[in-house]
Symmetry: D2
Subunit: 363 residues, 4 copies
């Protein structure tokens, strides 16, 4: 079931870009937990279009209404449900989309899959807009994790070939991890961020788009969370991150670079520090055998460049089965990676909190 | 539940490296399908230790006994179950492992997770040996897919910095995809393979290990298989591949390289060819919005270097809580990526066949 | 996860009696299926309080808003979501409930389970009101089944010891099965119905309540739907029916009476009729080995008498840990079995349609 | 997936009556728990054919081999797997079954479902023999529950219209509940048991069979285990019990008799006893709103008479599509309810232990 994820903290996402609303149902918010709705709203605001240069100008207030699950802000044990109204009118912009699929989008494959019944408007259930309910669930997971001393934060680590200052795999503090999220443009090094923004602006000027990489870290996670085989932290985090539109790659720790290393360099040695087991390095990105090591979990997600561009592209007319030239209009994020930063945090938070609940059953 | 994956073709894996046996139960093999057990055995043989230089010399016959699910070689609708006996004696090699965790292994995290009750012998349920039942399930999925004209094949695309000949993302035939699997060392370019083997041999001579990247492709997949959000092809394939020990990254199509591209270069244009919709390129790696495009699905998995090395490493004695120096003995694959090639195929085949069954319910 | 049911037609129910709203998300409505919202509304109206003697006088319009999943009334492949607003104000009637649990209700057990954080108002997530979203999902399942010639209908077969005319296990037509649902009081024999209503009225006059049995049948189901062991028709139907508040027993075919029969009398013989395999009787209630036989599926659900009564009852004050006498006020159905008739139909329809989808994967 | 049940203590059952073996995989046995294999074997022996009058004379040693999950008898956190070999030869007795379905069995419906590929021998995956792996899982669950002071026991409460001494719904001790299981014929009142055995013997003499009712109770369960809606104790217990062949009805507490009661008589009043909340009666059978009340959980399951009888029956020849007369040979239990007693205990234990694990996530 495509729209549902999690075993214990289970999130079901509904809605299409232009349906009456979008939202989520969450089963597994432990009873008695207070949810700070202002903090949740602030988290959602990081995902919402800002009107700044890297973002679409579509107006989306994205203020969720809590339908159930909370009584006076405290989880009551019943499923949590939230709804965000879609205020944008069902425009005629999308009428031709049923005939002429946009390159890089799911228009055509959805048409085949659903026999032409799919909701084409705004990308339907495939829209990046569905990351809003993901962020509702992730924002709640982040709060539940924070209560246990676990921080989840992310930054844009690379855009258009420009690198942000690297996070060390070791010695990341929760402050380090949360800092970029407080900035309008979520990077560590603002100078690098300025260059990224310039690159984005240049692409936009051409009607084009750029890709990027988001790096996310989880600090404070105790040792022993996760599992071998199919429900390890890597499996679970990757599964949800690949649910964010435009993600084409996910790696942990040294990731693909590990493939070029020798074992003697990659293995993280153990040391006793202050009477506790510690790691001398964190090439593993905080995960061994699917299970947390106690070091920061570090994951990177590669985003392809935004599919919606305003340069003419080759496409086809599905009705006439003829080649056509497609010129999109409207406004779209020229780099989805920026607004995806909270979505990546949300994905990690959901996966990690689900694993925290799972760990209650280990012994 | 860590050891179970798939919604419709559901695989449950059991066993530890040194338990009585390892195996799997598969629910969802459609009744009436003939399973070729010789072909399955041949597939498993690709994973089994070969005694060649890149492989451990542990003797593992890995001949599964079919416990249920087949009548005269034909699926009867009941769960398929298979068992591989562990013939290696429960050696005393592993006695110290409970005290001194091996760097890069899950020994320590499993000790914390399971309160010291975990099976340390041979890595227990974390052992690479568990890829044998994965390959049983994957081998059956491969046969079921082949019946529908779908081929799944993989090769070692990079080891120790040495690249195999690249597969084009477009125009991969089933023959291309299946060819490396017929070789003792599964590469496209045997000269590159020879250099890789030399690099492996050098690392082994030092008691060290190397990492690598496995590339897998699925050809013949019809358009429209998969789903948006959490059960798309990328999510499902990544989730299972991360269940193979030592995987630290997964990417599709251009993968991380896509992050450096512009939309105008990355978007795959549509064209009408022979009266059908086709793509002029396949940067997406055969997947848009989690759904198959009809082009080859191309995925790469990064493997860290084998954790078991024979150079002295820093570790700790968990009982005395003291730093120690660990010198492993025995024999291990100096590069797990090679024997992981069929495991990656198995992971992809399971995910894709599960999605094929799911697609029966689309309309 | 308590609030989610179904493998392929998966229903997640949210809401509490006095939260902002109640509703459901349904994954698995096949794309392209037209849903008749007027018919759905008419089905929901059967469950809604009628103001007639056997029903509470609480005003519940119970008109769902469709949030997603339909485009112009046609399923688009994305999850279906619907919301019913709770219009009744959050009254102070329920303030004392946190201290003094109502006998026969879940107040006390929920208090223990959720550490006092449960939503006490109106029974929270335990309220019979949650059968409204169950009926939304069931109403849609009924429409999807009707399209395949399958009818689901129910009647009150017994109330306060008074029996309705019995349905024969054999030769039930879809007309027979649907007829009671068109009546204000859903019985076969209106004279029996009149006596039942009188018994209900008498109980109400005493501030008391009565129990009853609902019988539901599914006609037109093809042979071969269901499965052995844990996901057979009986398992699935029973699992959902026990989700309707006040159900204490479920039986199929001869049910408990079968326990007193001999095999020679209970076994349903096979006969060839009109060139097809038929059954000479239907003691099995249309199910053998968890799988449909092609004969009508017949299930009966026993409802305990309504827990909310207005006679003084012994209870306790949880704060003072003292015995108290509880006198409830307000209005409640004196017999929940009547309004539960569509809920039982909904439960059966969801289970059966889910099994229909499952059957697509049999071969 | 029909052969898998449980969310946290998840049991997957494999095997057919005449396949190489039958068995189960259990995920979720907490690491560190010691499993007493002798006690498990003793539990299985209660289900095995005894050669006594009410039982088939088929020889089934039913000694499971533990394949994985235990190290020196202690759960290691990896899935538990066990195998029972099928020693009975694949006889030719069953050859005609593919053509002539046995009334009351699943032969015909399985033939339609699986397109003739089903395993007909001994009933295949539909065989009562599959209750052996169910009892393995249930026996382990019973041990895990016993460690927490929870006892699960059952008796034959009625056979062929003869009642055993009734268990009171209140004040059942663990000794009461476990006592019948220690007898060759599991009843409370041995005189009633003797009459039952005579009735069984009479039916057998005629080549006929009788049905019965099994009553099971769970004592010592704390308050607050379970959930509303679809995963309550009633839902879960009923779902698994209906997986035992021949069950046609399940009821809790007063069950169907509750339908004839008034609320004032059925509601269980609360009282403070010894400073704790207690119930003055237990008509609810220990469950309110799907959640345990702390009183004994009491459930009854109705078994139809054994389908395999040796009186001639009407059936059909599926190949020639003609009416035929079927005379079965061989030996079968003339009353499955007796040997089903441990299976009902197993079903309850699995459901209850799964709910115990689930409850770890309530707050």
């Amino acid at each position: 079931m495509a729209s549902c994820v999690g075993e214990h903290f289970r999130v079901t996402i509904f809605g299409q870009s232009h349906s009456a609303g979008i939202g989520c149902v969450i089963e597994g918010v432990p009873a008695g937990k207070r949810i700070d709705l202002q903090e949740l709203q602030a988290f959602l605001a990081r995902r919402a279009p800002s009107g700044l240069s890297w973002s679409t100008s579509r107006k989306e207030a994205d203020i969720p209404e809590i339908l159930s699950g909370l009584v006076d802000g405290v989880a009551c044990g019943a499923p949590f449900a939230a709804l965000i109204r879609n205020t944008g009118a069902r425009s005629s912009d999308y009428k031709t989309l049923r005939r002429v699929p946009r390159p890089g989008h799911a228009d055509y494959v959805a048409d085949v899959k659903f026999g032409g019944a799919q909701d084409v408007a705004g990308g339907g259930h495939f829209s990046g807009r569905l990351t809003a309910p993901l962020c509702i669930a992730g924002g709640i997971a982040k709060q539940l994790l924070a209560e246990e001393g676990i921080a989840v934060g992310a930054h844009v680590v690379r855009i258009a070939g420009i690198d942000d200052a690297a996070w060390p795999l070791e010695d990341l503090s929760s402050d380090d991890v949360l800092a970029p999220g407080n900035k309008a443009f979520p990077v560590v090094d603002d100078a690098a961020g300025a260059r990224m923004r310039q690159a984005i602006e240049e692409a936009r000027a051409w009607g084009d788009s750029v890709g990027g990489v988001v790096e996310c870290a989880v600090t404070g996670l105790p040792v022993g969370i996760g599992a071998p085989l199919f429900d390890g932290l890597e499996n679970a985090i990757a599964r949800i991150i690949f649910g964010i539109p435009a993600v084409k790659g996910v790696e942990f720790g040294r990731g693909f670079a590990a493939a070029d290393m020798r074992g003697s360099a990659h293995n993280d040695p153990y040391r006793i520090r202050d009477g506790r087991v510690a790691f001398a390095s964190n090439n593993a990105g905080g995960i061994l055998g699917g299970i947390s090591t106690g070091e920061p979990v570090v994951v990177r997600a590669a985003f392809k460049p935004t599919s919606s561009i305003f340069i003419e592209q080759d496409s086809v007319d599905l009705e006439e089965m003829a080649d056509v030239c497609l010129a999109l209009e409207g406004r779209h994020d020229p780099c989805v990676a920026v607004r995806a930063v909270p979505a990546v945090e949300a994905a990690c938070a959901i996966a990690v909190y689900d694993a925290m609940l799972e760990a209650r059953m280990d012994r």
